[in-house]
């Protein structure tokens, strides 16, 4: 296998958790809700997924447990911001603070235990093609799932009636309510979907990316995924593009660190975070302000009967 293919495969693996988490958050934000609890839900997904997979011996059980855990946390968030109309920023932060602690509690018993990573798919013949075989036909199942997710969400938002409802709820909840659209139900479903995606993204970290659990293993990926949604102007295909760009930057940084170009390692480690800020600034240069974000993003909705 030539070196370029190996590098590109690591780019795909670095991008996939960001992609899954960001796609989930994109749906939530298009419905008008800002969930800053992404980092916390990913962390709990990672620890629950690893714990369940280790205890049951089945990776599938681990993945399902992570999805359930992410959705359960997001249900708590929904209870606060939809049921009680609390401030979304503060509630999301609370969810992240709680999630990071909870993930430590769940994972504590599994520090130091490792397991086999979920293996990549093998299609006889195709996976052995030179140059592109492993890259295109030999990734792990989550990679294909995340790509299907991107396509599915693109179709859902732009082509389906339910997607139109979701977008109108996010664009102007008062008008949507006046039209008789179930604002709260739509948002609840969107939040649960976002939580499930965050849990899945967390499971990818602890079951595929690094097949062990360690405290703080999400390392800000939830926040980077949140930034990706803004970077992508709330469009699924741009999230896909952004996630792969970002995965590429991460891998570049790792290789630069290994090659020790004379920079302190901390400079290289800071690179993804600085790159995120730069990316957000560059994106904002090219567009008129506030023209792209969903109109009702981050505001509570209390129907006046």
């Amino acid at each position: 296998m030539d070196i370029w293919q190996a590098v590109l495969i690591t780019v795909v693996t670095a991008a996939t958790p960001l992609l899954i988490a960001a796609l989930g958050e994109l749906v939530v934000e298009r419905a008008g809700v800002l969930n800053l609890g992404l980092e916390g839900m990913m962390a709990v997904g990672a620890s629950c997924g690893f714990a369940a997979a280790t205890l049951s011996g089945s990776s599938l059980v681990g993945v399902l447990a992570a999805i359930a855990a992410g959705a359960a946390l997001s249900a708590l968030f929904a209870l606060l911001v939809l049921g009680l109309a609390t401030n979304q920023v503060a509630s999301g932060l609370a969810l992240t603070i709680m999630g990071l602690g909870l993930s430590g509690l769940i994972g504590a018993g599994f520090v130091g235990s490792g397991r086999e990573a979920i293996p990549p798919i093998r299609i006889p013949g195709l996976s052995d093609l030179p140059a592109v075989g492993r890259l295109v036909f030999g990734e792990d199942p989550f990679v294909y799932l995340s790509l299907a997710l991107a396509g599915g969400i693109l179709w859902f938002l732009s082509r389906s009636r339910a997607g139109l409802t979701l977008r109108s709820v996010g664009e102007n909840h008062t008008s949507a309510h006046a039209l008789g659209l179930p604002v709260i139900q739509v948002r609840l479903l969107a939040i649960l979907f976002g939580g499930a995606c965050a849990g899945l993204a967390g499971a990818y970290l602890s079951l595929v990316y690094t097949p062990f659990w360690s405290p703080g293993m999400t390392a800000g990926r939830g926040w980077i995924a949140l930034a990706l949604v803004v970077f992508a102007s709330w469009k699924p295909l741009r999230v896909l593009f952004g996630a792969y760009l970002f995965g590429g930057a991460t891998v570049l940084q790792l290789h630069a660190q290994a090659a020790s170009l004379g920079f302190p390692s901390q400079v290289m480690s800071a690179f993804p975070y600085v790159a995120t800020i730069v990316a957000l600034v560059l994106m904002s240069l090219g567009r008129r302000k506030a023209a792209i974000a969903p109109g009702s993003l981050g505001t509570s909705f209390v129907p006046d009967r």
């Binding site: 009680l84 909870l102 430590g104 949140l226 209390v302």
Partner: protein
Amino acid sequence: MRLELVPRGDVSPWARALAPVAAVVAAILIGGLVVALMGRSPLAAFQVYFVDTLSEDWGLQEMAVKATPLLIIAVGLSFCFRASLWNIGAEGQFIIGALVGGILPLYTAGTEAGAWVIPAAMVLGALGGLAYAMIPALLRVAFGVSEILTSLMLVYVADLTLDYLVRGPWKDPKGFNFPQTVNFDATLPYLAEGGRLHAGVLVGPALALLAWFVISRTLFGFGVRVAGEAPKAARFAGFSANRMVIAAFAISGAAAGLAGIVEVLGQIGQLKPGISSGYGFTAITVAFLGRLHPLGMIFGALVVALTVIGGESAQIALKLPLDLTRAFQGVLLMCVLAADALVSYRVRLVTVARA
């Protein structure tokens, strides 16, 4: 089946003031449930977390010491949160404050420099935090970039900067290769012989009083409140939104930076990784627990400090992990937000769909 929120209209100030107390009680009950689920005695945990610390002299002193950085940061953050601006990077501003403020005591360690180093370091620390907070503030004003994401990203950058300095140029040459600086000579004096209370504990309450005066008695404070509660009215009244972003971030950044250098000069006495242990994030809980009221935040800081110390004791006495405390702080913040909503709204469970 769904929940319906009915505004209560006039709510007595007492109910609002008591909501955080109810939230603390609710959070303790949930915490006890979790401890029970972990197969431990909730009563024993409650004893270690809340009773032991409060019933002993060292515990009370330790509580004031731990509450200090939390209170200083929270007082600063309250200006942002009141104006509906979201500086969630106080953790980074705290670290940069400690670094910039730490330059003077670092380079005067072992020399005959006088006591002037301490106030000068505190001023530098505040300025360092302020300057670091200007990055998200200016990016928002100039480019409209979300301050939430930029301020948070800068926490990681600050953390790595600290890590680089104490492992690299600032490392103590006689420190057996530990990632830490030399011990500073310039440290805050203790208020009483043999106690734990350093002079920095006075900074928190002093700032809280100052903030109370500014918020409730000055035109600027009025502008902050209007910006948060009625942004349109603020615009018509001629308050500049951009200037508000800069001012609120300047105040919260300076406060977080000051908290950083006070913590270093009063508690730690050197720079090393982990000087903060998450104070910048915990202070968010403190700010909301105090309902963003300067005097309420004194209560909030003491309660949260109590859980921090209780968490450390419980780790030793009951082998309960520190993460329990972090999870508890998240639950507490959720309970505070919920309690506030329950004071403002009546919640009705509607079981039959209306026609």
